[in-house]
């Protein structure tokens, strides 16, 4: 399985200094679309040179597009992995583009046999271009498609079985999806193929009260711009009780807090997941 251990963080230029100073950093992730493989960000290269594994994380490959894979983007992901000596790469179970349109955001695919075939074809084609394993992350979605044939766990298990891909499990997404559907997130954890987990995402979010005015009470947004809520940390603990992940990381994408606060959140995640310093 993929070679990741310990506690990590999503490297972003705005927090490069904080990330570089984290004393127990096990690995980091970098948004693949922000990387020029010919000249990766200096902060990322410095971490890699220190022996910190770097995982390119794609957000715009759109593996769920029914009109096929954008080969240039898949090649870019592979080039990022090669340039950074990455142990693996990751992307989402999602689509962002189709038929010349771009939503600018990760959207859910219907959990149907047809969508499964599309994902398997696009994932397999991507894997053919990669020299390292691919981990797939289920997204947070505020809505579902009509006429679905599988639960998320069933759909995901089939996808991973047919492609051999690993699982990037985002516990904040599990929390968000369960909360927004009135489901029990622990039952979702019980059903997921936890033996396929390569690493785990933890991120913050917020309840959006403003949407109640439009008839939608209590929508939880997976923002990545808020602190990690206690419920998400509790779910991380629930996950560790079932199958302790070897690598867990914090994702933060804006409204960055002071360095000490970010470092505290990192430490809290490491403690919650009972992760020691990475073996080197």
């Amino acid at each position: 399985m993929a070679d990741l251990y310990g506690t990590g963080v999503g490297w972003r230029p705005e927090i490069a200094g904080v990330v570089a100073d984290l004393p127990e950093l096990g690995f980091c992730e970098v948004i693949a679309e922000s990387v020029d493989p010919a000249a990766p960000p200096r902060g990322v290269v410095e971490l890699r040179d220190r022996g910190v594994p770097v995982v390119p994380h794609g957000v715009r490959l759109s593996l769920g597009s029914a009109d096929g894979l954008d080969r240039d983007r898949a090649e870019h992901l592979a080039a990022c992995a090669a340039a950074l000596g990455a142990p693996l790469v990751s992307e989402h179970v999602s689509f962002t583009r189709v038929a010349g349109r771009d939503a600018g955001h990760l959207l859910p695919v219907p959990r149907t046999r047809q969508a499964l075939d599309v994902l398997v074809a696009n994932v397999t084609a991507t894997q053919g271009l990669l020299d390292v394993p691919l981990a797939l992350e289920p997204i947070a979605a505020l809505f579902d498609w009509p006429g679905e044939e599988f639960t998320e766990a069933e759909f995901l298990t089939r996808l991973l079985d047919r492609t051999g891909a690993l699982l990037l499990l985002d516990v904040a997404n599990v929390h968000a999806n369960a909360l927004n559907r009135g489901a029990d997130p622990r039952a979702v954890l019980d059903a997921l193929p936890l033996d396929r987990v390569a690493y785990v995402h933890v991120a913050g979010g917020s309840e959006h009260a403003g949407d109640a005015a439009h008839g939608d009470p209590g929508v939880y947004h997976d923002t990545h711009t808020d602190a990690v809520p206690a419920e998400v940390l509790a779910l991380l603990e629930e996950l560790c009780d079932r199958s302790r992940p070897r690598a867990v990381m914090l994702e933060r994408d804006g409204h960055y807090p002071p360095a000490a606060e970010l470092a505290d959140e990192f430490t809290t995640i490491a403690r919650t997941a009972r992760l020691a310093r990475a073996p080197r």
């Binding site: 769920g64 597009s65 029914a66 009109d67 689509f95 189709v98 038929a99 349109r101 771009d102 939503a103 600018g104 955001h105 959207l107 695919v109 219907p110 047809q114 969508a115 599309v118 505020l142 809505f143 579902d144 498609w145 009509p146 006429g147 959006h208 949407d211 439009h214 008839g215 939608d216 929508v219 947004h221 804006g254």
Partner: protein, 148 residues
């Protein structure tokens, strides 16, 4: 067989970002929530490309973007912001620092409002927000500030 699936995905995207009706079977309240969330995200992305335009509007920025771009298919943050800045200029409500930012961009690039902006081949001069921008030899120079 995937043509129908691709069409269904396109209809969903159109309803979320291009003003089309919500496709049958979807929760229209939730899709409306997603539509507003996407507009907020879009305003943040435009703010990174047009920092002075966004800063000049402070907390109203997301609302300004929603007012101009709700139902307008995204064209990338450069063009999205360019379109908003031009609309505000045409309405006479473009704040001075944002007018400078727009003039600086327009000095160096030609944008017809319909396709991707292209770098100019010939020198050009644009005025905005009390500053004068001269594009010559592949560089944009700010020649004069408000103080003259």
């Amino acid at each position: 067989m995937n043509d129908a699936f691709a069409a269904a995905q396109a209809a969903l995207v159109d309803s979320l970002v291009a003003g089309a009706a919500v496709p049958a079977g979807f929760d229209d309240v939730r899709l409306a929530t997603v539509r507003r969330a996407l507009l907020r995200k879009r305003s943040g992305e435009i703010a990174r490309t047009w920092p002075l335009l966004a800063a000049a509007h402070g907390h109203d920025w997301s609302a300004i973007v929603a007012a101009h771009l709700d139902g307008v298919a995204p064209k990338g943050s450069l063009r999205d912001g360019w379109d908003v800045a031009r609309a505000l200029r045409a309405a006479g409500t473009l704040p001075s620092p944002a007018a400078e930012e727009l003039a600086s961009r327009e000095a160096g690039r030609r944008y017809d409002g319909a396709s991707a902006p292209t770098r100019r081949r010939m020198p050009a001069v644009r005025r905005g927000g009390g500053a004068l921008f001269v594009y010559v030899g592949g560089r944009t120079l700010r020649l004069r500030g408000l103080a003259g």
